[in-house]
């Protein structure tokens, strides 16, 4: 029996339990695979993993760190998920985050000192608006001329990040600094902490947004229409759905959510504007969206897990494991889980000796259906 005897068969949609089991299994495989490299370097993979988990998830400080690191990831993940509900690939959460941060940051640093609740609200809206405007460029091009939104959102990232670099290295740079960061924003604009947990109120914003998104797609007309669009634009149009309007709404919404990542990060964590602010969160958001199967509530959980994984990088280095390996473990787990996603939709089947022509045709057909 060789590989030729194994074929792929399309599955019915897997149950929730199966999907979770599948993810857990592939996380374990990811650990096993990185374990080979860790062991080759002369470290015990079990102690390394135990350290990672205990550092990030088994104590209050670690959990707090994981949530905080996960916060911008949540918003980027929600942003990507929302767009994908309509089969729109928003690769631009990174750029939308940056523009949101710039517009909100400009107001925080140089805007008028409005009374407090209003000031916070204006900053919130400006961040959302910045992200939405940036996404809207791609949305208009897509809606009216059917320009590929994947390319446009991706390219707009570079423009946004260079704009951010320019401002943070140039006019906004704090005095006596060598790094591209601005002065601190006014203290009134700091997001409050939740009690004495050390976790800022940004988490509330993210969770509320996730719930609202869930309700939006589940219970509103537009939300329903969007999901029809996902399956077939043509039949959606045939059914009298205004596809053009929906593209604008969904990409605008997606951009606004990504822009809010700028809000929570500036007001909640960094308290300055800095050039490295998005720092890849927009791209990690894509991974998170896929890992969460585009389910808004799952995005929250997965973001915290990835945030913790990210933090544990330094814990692993403390043991003497080189930083490159720490980053590799992270990458390995992500790749394995994403690859494992495949097995939610396909399964390997051993060919029966008397395979019929019809059976083969079916296998070929199911292969044709591979795709994210």
């Amino acid at each position: 029996m060789g590989l030729a005897n194994i074929r792929l068969e399309r599955k019915q949609v897997a149950s929730l339990g199966r999907r979770i089991l599948n993810s857990v299994l592939f996380v374990l495989l990811g650990f096993a695979f990185s374990g080979i490299f860790i062991a080759a370097l002369g470290f015990n993979p079990f102690t390394v993993y135990a350290k990672m988990i205990s550092y990030s998830f088994l104590n209050l400080r670690g959990i707090r760190g994981s949530i905080m690191a996960g916060l911008p990831l949540m918003l980027c993940g929600l942003s990507v998920s929302a767009a994908f509900k309509m089969n729109l690939n928003n690769i631009g959460a990174e750029g939308q985050y940056a523009v949101g941060a710039l517009m909100g940051g400009a107001f925080a640093l140089y805007g008028p000192a409005l009374p407090l609740p209003l000031r916070m609200a204006v900053m919130f809206l400006l961040c959302a608006l910045g992200g939405a405007l940036w996404a809207m460029i791609a949305a208009v091009l897509k809606a009216y001329w059917n320009v590929n939104e994947t390319i446009i959102t991706l390219m707009l990232n570079y423009i946004a990040l260079l704009l951010m670099d320019y401002l943070c290295y140039g006019p906004w740079m704090a005095k006596r600094q060598t790094t591209p960061i601005s002065e601190k924003i006014p203290q009134e604009l700091y997001l409050p902490y939740l009690g004495n947990s050390g976790i800022n109120a940004g988490i509330v914003i993210a969770v509320v947004l996730a719930v609202l998104l869930y309700l939006f797609f589940q219970y509103t007309t537009v939300g329903f229409q969007v999901q029809v669009n996902k399956y077939s634009l043509r039949s959606a149009q045939y059914a009298g759905i205004n596809v053009r309007r929906n593209i604008l709404i969904i990409l605008g919404l997606s951009g606004a959510i990504a822009g809010l990542a700028g809000f929570v990060q500036i007001t909640g964590v960094v308290h300055r504007v800095q050039a490295q602010l998005p720092g890849g969160s927009g791209y990690t958001g894509i991974v998170i969206a896929y890992l969460s199967q585009f389910h808004p509530l799952a995005v929250i959980l997965v973001s915290i897990l990835l945030g913790g994984l990210n933090n544990s990088c330094s814990a692993v280095q403390i043991m003497g494991v080189p930083s490159q390996i720490a980053a590799m473990i992270q990458g390995c787990i992500m790749i394995f889980v994403i690859a494992g996603e495949f097995f939610n939709r396909y399964r390997l089947v051993l060919k029966k000796p008397d395979t019929t022509a019809a059976g083969q045709a079916e296998a070929v057909e199911s292969k044709g259906g591979v795709g994210l």
Binding site: L28, F31, I36, F43, F46, Q276, S314, P322
Partner: protein
């Protein structure tokens, strides 16, 4: 069907279990981290008899510690300081590749604090703002930060202009043309201090010597640094200094028959036909003082170490390239700087826009040197 599905899960689990078991078996005998080559044996206990076994030092670096440049110079300096004090090498905890942004620095800081370190060394000036905010959370943990004076942090910096003065002086002695080159990284005060030191040294050798500056606008970029060196060489410049971290400048010089002074660490091995000698950061004497003060409780966030002499070091000369008389003259100048006979920033000093910076007979203050925003009059180029 059901059975096969189950079988496939079992198979996957078996692979997982087998590989994990394999890993742990292979490594259990050898779980100690690989040691850094620099300081193999810890020295005998120090004279005061301080017990160093529980004194832990954390360092945060922007690249890896064997980057062949800045981080390596810092790491080796820490290890030398620890060795001479008698602190076991494993008491140094390193967190590498920490980018200069709030989240990354806070995460590294927390990881080090949770390990119970007594002293944290922030090896990149870009950490200052973030560490300064974090320091009050754990007043017992002393933080030493490279760069300018910052609230809540002990500062340290080397008078790089002293070593750079020697570099410029040597290049000017050897160069036949009246123009030297300088491949610079980012326009930051310490980099400008390096350029100015180099130019003043060149001027000391020959009052007509000029220095052409090219900026990379990056701390580390092989492509741009290659272009910087190539640009200078294309202008007919044969001798250059550098304040750039990659091996690009020495290697480009070697490929084009030009010469340079290495930077950060001894770069002779990278380009033996081009590197005359290297400017070497030696933080060890400073770190020894900081560690000692942190250990006996006398460390104060107002402490600021701005040192030259042995810290602003040069490597051994490349005797194939540097004639004996030049070597002697350079060493003589080094002595004269140490004795105060030569004042690098002594008057009269003008910038290259014609402003008088220091009047004749006076010397620039350290505050002005550290935060300098000018290029001296024999530098061709702008700093903004």
């Amino acid at each position: 069907m059901k059975n096969k599905r189950f079988a496939s899960i079992l198979l996957a689990l078996a692979i997982t279990a087998a590989s994990l078991a394999g890993c742990s078996g292979g490594s259990s005998a050898n779980s100690a981290p690989a040691s850094t080559p620099a300081a193999e044996q810890s020295a005998a206990p120090s004279e005061q008899g301080t017990d160093w076994s529980n004194f832990k030092i954390g360092q945060i670096t922007s690249l890896v510690v064997n980057d062949g440049g800045w981080c390596q110079a810092t790491n080796q300096s820490i290890l030398r300081a620890m060795q001479s004090l008698g602190i076991p090498e494993e008491n140094l905890i390193t967190i590498e590749n920490v980018s200069e942004e709030q989240v990354a620095v806070e995460n590294a800081y927390n990881a080090l604090v949770s390990e119970g370190v007594n002293l944290i060394i922030g090896a990149s000036s870009g950490y200052a703002a973030f560490l300064s905010d974090l320091a009050p959370q754990n007043p017992d943990v002393i933080i030493a930060q490279q760069g300018a004076r910052t609230e809540n942090l002990i500062g340290y910096q080397i008078r790089n202009y002293e070593g750079m003065f020697l570099a410029g002086y040597a290049c000017a002695l050897m160069s036949e043309s009246k123009t030297l080159g300088f491949a610079a990284s980012m326009s930051e005060a310490s980099v400008r201090a390096a350029i100015n030191g180099f130019a003043l040294g060149a001027k000391y050798a020959d009052p007509e010597e000029k220095v052409q500056v090219v900026w990379a606008n990056s701390w580390y970029d092989v492509d741009i640094e290659t272009q910087s060196a190539q640009t200078l060489i294309n202008q007919g410049i044969k001798y250059m200094g550098m304040e750039a971290s990659s091996p690009a400048v020495p290697q480009t010089c070697e490929a084009n028959g030009a010469y340079c002074i290495g930077y950060n660490v001894d770069m002779e091995e990278l380009a033996p036909k081009a590197v005359l000698f290297s400017y070497v950061w030696n933080f060890a004497p400073i770190f020894e003082k900081i560690i000692a003060s942190a250990a006996d409780g006398t460390a104060n966030p107002d402490d600021y170490y701005y040192e030259g002499g042995d810290s602003s070091a040069i490597s051994d000369f490349n005797s194939e390239l540097v004639p004996e008389d030049v070597q002697k003259k350079v060493l003589q100048v080094k002595e004269d700087i140490a004795s105060g006979k030569i004042k690098v920033y002594g008057g009269e000093l003008k910038d290259n826009k014609g402003n008088v910076l220091v009047a004749a007979g006076e010397t620039m203050s350290d505050e002005q040197i550290v935060a300098q925003e000018f290029l001296v009059d024999n530098v061709i180029g702008d700093w903004q």
